[in-house]
Homo-oligomer: 519 residues x 2
């Protein structure tokens, strides 16, 4: 694609300046930063178009987006291209063979001296499993959180009242489709009012985040010349559990492994062989049990050794964060937690999580067999200093110390007999953690813009517990990056019945209008 310019934006910043000034009459005084007027415009626009915004969002939510289904995500990328092009954004689908495309869009603002990168991922977690109350790709509006008695309600007609406490249930409603309608609405609002943007904008929408951003590095190598910005804004993740907006300076890294241990080469009758044949579920249980102590601390040798300690600024920010732990324990029915620290402190340590277990069948489907294998999905979250491959090496060394011989493929009969304890390890992709310096000047400008979009106290969080491929931008491309989450914390992201609270979607529109016009 040639370097197209967004003609409607050039127009907006010129001919439509009258409309922008007209609006400024109703907005706060001249001393007010420009983004406050933009937030008021965005809020008024949203209030006038709530149902249309939700209808457009529902259309987006109906499109399946698991990153391993190439046809689905490619179709969605093309859909997004059309949506952003309709707002005058110059959009190109960057492609590598047989990989979900990167949606890349530009708005060049004459006279702007700063370029903001805006990252969203349009892919989502898979949506299988029996616990989905509704079809995950058929969004349903609820009048409250489902498990707090919320009931499905029909979509109101245009102009009817919309309660910000309502939620839309669908896969990716929060993670991470929500920023897309919020960005589109912010553009619509500013454009309609003729308010000029104050930065050049580069949009980058990824299609493989939930499967480990496996090709993002390749994309950056292939298309890095397009991706120079002064600051990356990552639109993903939830706001604080207290509901307060947050500016997040880093993320944990992520990796993991699938682990299979072996019993007899075929499932055996649990009567004819039980108390003689090795039981893979038992062997797996013993192996996993060896990995943590009773308090949930990881016993894998060296697991905490490479953690880079927090700096003074980060420790101070951490000290100012609310501690919602007691409320969360009550909300989640949790009677104990791992370690002795607060949630915020624990998220600055690497984690080891049994994400899944499978062997034979349970419940009414259980059969009287000794299964031939047992499988676990182990997830690791990493903090600054942890190298993903090194951390997996440590876990593998631990597995070997428990007497297991590690293989990469299902073993044959001879291998099975030769090694009494065999573990097949399939490493996931992954990436390291990242943290941005809290003292950069551009950081101050962003914080002001976030404050302009909310009445609440804005929290500064040294690092999110979740993961984003921030390191590719901060480490590989040398640009600072901030995360500006909008989703409610209780959105069930990655689980069944994912949802977004409308108040959080509305906050997103205000936030993006403010950022697009920040001083």
């Amino acid at each position: 694609m040639a370097m197209l310019r967004a003609s409607r934006w050039r127009l907006a910043s010129g001919a439509l300046v009258v409309a922008a000034l007209a609006l400024a009459v109703a907005a706060p005084s001249q001393a007010t930063p420009p983004q406050e007027g933009a937030v008021a415009v965005a809020r008024a626009y949203r209030q006038a178009h709530e149902v249309e915004i939700l209808q457009a969002f529902n259309e987006l939510l109906r499109q399946p987006n698991f990153g391993r289904n190439l046809e689905d995500v490619t179709g969605l990328a093309e859909y997004l291209q059309a949506q952003f092009e309709a707002r005058g954004v110059a959009v190109e689908l960057l492609r590598l063979p047989d990989v979900p495309p990167l949606v890349y869009g530009e708005i060049i603002v004459p006279g702007a001296t700063r370029t903001l990168g805006i990252y969203v991922h349009y892919d989502g977690q898979p949506a299988t499993g029996p616990d989905w109350v509704n079809d995950p790709y058929e969004p349903v509006l609820y009048n409250d959180r489902m498990d707090l008695g919320g009931e499905p309600i029909g979509m109101p007609a245009a102009g009817e009242a919309v309660d910000p406490n309502w939620r839309i249930y669908a896969r990716s409603a929060s993670d991470d489709k929500a920023p897309l309608p919020a960005l589109l609405s912010a553009l619509d609002a500013l454009q309609g009012a003729g308010i000029p943007l104050t930065s050049n904008i580069k949009f980058l929408f990824e299609g493989e985040e939930e499967i480990g951003s496996v090709h993002l590095r390749d994309y950056i190598e292939a298309y890095g010349d397009k991706l120079g910005v002064d600051l990356w804004l990552f639109c993903d993740g939830p706001v604080h559990q207290t509901g307060a907006p947050q500016v997040v300076f880093g993320v944990r890294g992520v990796t993991g492994m699938d682990l299979t241990v072996y019993g007899p080469a075929r499932p055996l009758h649990s009567g004819h062989y039980g108390s003689w044949a090795p039981v893979p579920g038992q062997m797996l249980a013993e192996l996993l049990a060896s990995m943590k102590d009773a308090d949930g601390n990881v016993l894998v040798e060296g697991f905490y050794d490479s953690v880079v300690p927090l700096g003074r600024g980060e420790l101070e920010a951490l000290g100012r964060l609310p501690v919602p732990d007691e409320q969360l324990r009550a909300d989640l029915g949790i009677g104990w937690t791992e370690g002795t620290e607060t949630l915020s402190e624990r998220l600055l340590l690497p984690s080891l999580t049994v994400k899944g277990l499978a062997s034979g069948s349970v419940g009414a489907a259980a059969r009287n067999v000794i299964p031939d294998r047992a499988e676990a999905a182990l997830g690791l979250r990493l903090v600054k200093g942890n190298d993903p491959e090194h951390m997996l090496d440590l876990v593998e060394a631990h597995i070997e110390r428990q007497g297991f011989h590690i293989v990469r493929q299902d073993p044959d009969l001879e291998m099975r007999q030769r090694f009494p304890r065999l573990a097949k390890v399939t490493r996931e992709g992954g990436y390291p953690a990242a943290r941005t310096d809290m003292g950069l000047p551009v950081v101050e400008e962003v914080i002001d813009a976030v404050r302009a979009a909310t009445d609440q106290t804005v929290l500064m969080v040294p690092a999110l517990g979740g993961s984003l491929p921030l390191y590719l931008f901060t480490e590989n491309m040398g640009a600072p990056a901030l995360i500006l989450p909008i989703a409610n914390h209780d959105n069930n992201q990655h689980a069944s019945n994912e949802n977004i609270k409308l108040a959080n979607l509305w906050y997103g529109i205000d936030l993006y209008a403010s950022l697009l016009t920040m001083r």
Copy 2:
């Protein structure tokens, strides 16, 4: 049902005696026990009708038979009634409300002084799961064992050669539909040749064995007056791993539990909560790991205390059994076994088996969550002296000693928070082990009949590792019981791709012809 007599059998023992004598010319000399002639007749009949026998068996195998699907098993019971009535057996379906019927059939033989009970179960294990190569209820003939390179072959035309090494793959092909066509063929053979039976016969075909024979006790209480016999013959289970026929004097009992442990009340993002929220898969692993030592011996307090030691006869029989352990290890790809004893010895101890594990998802479906629960299916096999409820009590006491509070229903939020470690235990039904005295006179007569049906050495096994509700007959009704398995040991019973080797089906026909005519 009135006490109907099987008129065709009365006829057979009278008017058709000429045919029987005619056949005796080709059979061994007069000094030979009657059953040897019957075996020769059965074998000749089978050789002339192999394809028809297989076709009829396929019709039977196409009928789904999971005992919880009442419509399926009731339809199958009616089918069996028609099949046995067509051979002149007086059949009645004994019924209790909303429960699979018992198929009860009688052959009264004038002058017979002994009544044999013949037990088969017509229900089967469920047949779900992705590992079935074919539809489990669409039998497919293979020219060898599937995992040894066997290929599916078409059914030969009537009269074409049939290789006894071939196998039929289908759910219940071995466990436990196989005895049914074998019995029908034995009856056809004897009837066609006019050979009289030597005992009264009572058939009892159960429809709930694989779901724990949950109503067999009720049936016996309701219909016990019909069920007086001198000896029960249980037609179920596999022959010895060496291929040798066996006479089995007992079984292990069986029970189990489904065990669920709890994490957060809803699945959580493994990033935003990982290293803080409790991980149910980890908790379950630690609980299961505490139940066995590294050698596979059960650490549950008292687990081995109630075991009744073997008598001298049983120890001697045990000492004469082949030890196929090395061959089995190679065949099954097993590099270690639980305990230090032989398989035969281990099967005379109670067992504790992790039959299933489930939490979140694994492999390509794994999601980055901390699941809300983890579940295990635990199977117990019991030996003489173990009471099922007492054994489950011991396991529960162990769970409590690991710090878990036991509940019977899914806990609410308040319970979850109050008890850091919660385990929901759902006990299975079950029943105790049983053993028949090896020195009874009728036992000698049966052993002679089994020997007449085979060229191989017949093994005497004190108790099978598997379970059958033998105790209801031996303990409750005071009748001795023997098990006479016919299936190949590598039949995948209870697992996917269950099969029977045709040689074993043919052995079944010979065996039943011999038993029906034993001295």
